[in-house]
Symmetry: C2
């Protein structure tokens, strides 16, 4: 077995999540937004929170869909569960009054704690966009976190000189903002 | 009545849509996303198409919400109905096979006809983001049109020299992409 240290990771078939994934993915072997929504609802992931909307499931897939098929393979599926667990912990932590929602001032702290440095004006726009009746629900919180992270990553990747400014061509601007 | 030519437009109270608006807006005199969704569903605006999702209603409000309250006043409400009528005509026109959905190749024609000049790559990303099972439904079509228009407008407003390129500061980039 000497040579096995350099061998590839155990096949997906040995992974306990593999059977779960294949049951959800169906015939095409990939998970689309509707399959993902069903799976996250049945798995009870959101607990006492409302189930994820189809829109948020599409944002999740767009985040991980490196090959632009609009669907998720097994590794992307596992990445998603890891990211979701992180956001759930984060959400519970910032919902200090245990209302099941994050209120505007709590949202500012959450965004800051995740490492995003945005102005009060940008934060206000984000809260306006993702609140329902002045509160931010877990579903919208996740959609917001994913978009904020993806947009920030897209920006940073282009800001090679780390100047805090990027020159976008129109097409590239549309491409990286409409994707998510 | 000589002087009346320069007088302000007839008060909103004389507008046939005013009673309708006030009934929907409720006590606060403004329409939020949930009120808008109810109103568009009850008015039968989408006809045989599925009703608008709450997400699309929020995108509609974000588009018109110049004062960032997350709600719509009367004039914004009228602007929205005018824009929606245009998109509906547009959608019906590009749904050539009368399937009730716009297919990827029809979407390319629609985006082009609306005056947006995007690359095949950007178009592909847009279609991936807004399709369900390879088709684009009216609800998603409207959300897509609104975002594409708002992002293009934000870009053009900054591209004062019309060079097709804009330098964004990080905060401004987040502000104008997370708003919609
Ligand atoms: Ca709370
Ligand atoms: Ca209201
Ligand atoms: Ca069609």
């Amino acid at each position: 077995y000497q040579g096995s240290y350099g061998a590839p990771a155990p096949a997906a078939a040995n992974d306990p999540m593999w059977a779960y994934f294949t049951a959800i993915a169906g015939q095409d072997g990939e998970v689309d937004a509707e399959e993902l929504q069903r799976c996250l609802t049945q798995s009870g992931f959101t607990g006492s929170y409302s189930p994820f909307s189809l829109e948020t499931c599409r944002v999740m897939i767009a985040m991980l869909d490196r090959d632009s098929t609009g669907k998720m393979g097994f590794n992307e599926f596992k990445d998603l569960f890891a990211a979701l667990s992180g956001w759930k912990q984060n959400f519970v932590m910032f919902d200090r009054d245990r209302s099941g929602t994050v209120e505007p001032q709590e949202m500012g702290q959450a965004v800051f704690a995740m490492g995003f440095r945005v102005s009060p004006q940008a934060l206000n726009v984000i809260i306006k966009r993702y609140n329902k009746g002045g509160r931010i629900y877990f579903d919208d919180y996740v959609a917001c976190c994913i978009r904020l992270r993806a947009l920030t990553d897209n920006f940073k990747r282009r800001d090679t000189m780390q100047q805090g400014a990027v020159s976008f061509q129109y097409d590239d601007f549309i491409l990286c903002t409409m994707a998510i």
